[in-house]
């Protein structure tokens, strides 16, 4: 078998080496200036822009979240205040009621005590009248008794004597 064509591709040829070196170096040089650098810059810029946009979106989202949390805090505060006010109102109401009750009680007590005093006074007065009436009655009775008993002189003298004795003893 005659192989006119042999495995020639494995032999480095000066001509091909020369042309390949020339063409590839020119390609490398031109492309890095004309194509790869502008593409790199453009892509970098676009990526930066995208990153910036993303960052901004993130920031906006954060701000939104911030605002929302602020709102919530405000709402919460308002709710708390309302609750507080309500509570205070209830307390005030209670205290007013209590005060009123207390006052009423006090008044009542006062009225009662004054009534009691009056009653005591009246009672004492009545008692005193009773006593004085009873004393008068007793005196009248004693007068009548004495008049009856001291109707004789002797008895009068005797009594006088007894009285004197009593005085001496004092």
């Amino acid at each position: 078998m005659l192989f006119l064509a042999d495995f020639s591709v494995i032999r480095p040829e000066p001509g091909l080496l020369f042309w390949m070196t020339l063409i590839f170096l020119v390609f490398w040089f031109i492309m890095s200036k004309v194509a790869f650098k502008p593409i790199a810059t453009a892509l970098k810029k676009r990526e930066e822009d995208i990153q910036e946009a993303l960052d901004q979106a993130k920031k906006a989202r954060e701000e939104m979240a911030n605002l929302q949390s602020q709102n919530e805090a405000l709402l919460k505060q308002a709710r708390e205040e309302r609750a507080k006010i309500l509570k205070e109102a209830t307390e005030t109401k209670d205290s007013i009621i209590n005060e009123a009750k207390n006052k009423a009680k006090e008044e009542a007590t006062k009225v009662i005590s004054s009534a009691k005093l009056e009653i005591d006074n009246q009672k004492n007065l009545a008692m005193a009248e009773v006593k004085s009436q009873a004393g008068l009655l007793a005196i009248q009775i004693a007068e009548k008794v004495l008049r009856k008993e001291l109707s004789s002189n002797a008895e009068q003298v005797n009594y006088a004597n007894n009285l004197v004795k009593e005085i001496k003893l004092n």
Partner: protein, 444 residues
Amino acid sequence: MVLRYNIFRLFLSFLLSISAITFLAAQEHGATPAPASNTEHHVVDSAGANHSTEMHADVDHNSAHAEGGHEEEPFSPGETALHHIADANSFHIFGDVYMPLPCFLYAPNFGWTIISSTSKFDAHHHGTGTKAIDGYVMEHGEVKRVNDESFPKGEVMIGEFSHVKDTTGGKEKVTSFIEYQGKTYQLDKKTTWDGGLMGGGTTSYYDFSITKNVFTLLLTFFFLIFILTKAAKAYATRPNQAPRGIQGFIEPIYIFIRDEVAKPMIGPKYEKYMPYLLSAFFFILGLNLIGQIPFFPGSANVTGNISITIVLAIITFIIVNLSGNKHYWEHTLWMPGVPSVLKILILTPVEILGIFLKPFTLLLRLFANITAGHIVIISFVSLIFIFGKAGESIGGSTVGAVISVPLTLFMLAIELLVAFLQAFIFTMLSASYIGAAIEEPHHH
């Protein structure tokens, strides 16, 4: 269901039309006898098998001629494949139609010869010329030179080609001869720088022609410049907008190389090396893909030629070693923390070998993958001609086509993947070598 039926019908009609075309072509190829007046290049020399270039060729050539030696050689898929992957001075389009290309030839003992077009060689059949120009002739689309001072300069008509097979040193080597005015002259092949290891060596001339491969290189060069500048312009005219058109093709590749190759492999200083990585990637990818096109502007096996991959690997080698920092050289030449004896005997020699082996494997990988792909595809296509006995049997061709077309389709799909994969691997390994060279020491 309907869709599947349609696809099946499409596939079947595709298969049938391809087979029809192939055996029509094969018929023509087999049936047309070569005109007797044409130069004939397939003269097998059996006697010349032993090392005896003593112009046995002349005798054998004549005897072959006497036997009516215009028999077509049996079809050889190996030779077809080797012929298709090889570089050539004219670009084969179809049949006997070749695209002529200019030649720049330099012989140290003669000087420059510039031939504006290979059509000047006046080839009628198989790209084999009938004229010699300044002692240069064209055989099978390849320019060769008569290394003989007595051969006339200028344009002369030449006679027949003949060949002698030489098997000294266990390697087959075929030498071509031409006949001119009754005398036989030996032809030199162009100089190759393999030091004789691969069957080549320095001969009497150098070929700096625009060959098939250089033509494809230029084509790829202009095509890539066109699409890349277009994309770059689109970025300038439409800043900060979503990619459109050609940008949609360039941008993913750019971002892929940047984010998956350069950044993880090289590190923070990646930007400096981006233009080289991108140039290498786009250039290799472009050449691989153009080589996948099976007809005229494509089909050249450019990245499957070791000269091309050598250039790329040498550039990577230069970049790696120029950007290597102190840490890299220290770890290569005098690894710290290892006994001196070990360093001198094993580590340093291995590391120094490694510096050269890295680009060597880089160039071999690309070369071997692409060449192997081309050879496999051509072998599968050759099935048609093997089964059809090179156009004699239509039934055999049909069977061959039915087997060959799906296999070729499958291989083409695989090769499409390989085209991207090899471009990517070349770029990634270059990046990883650069990354290893500029890596800063880690402080523990």
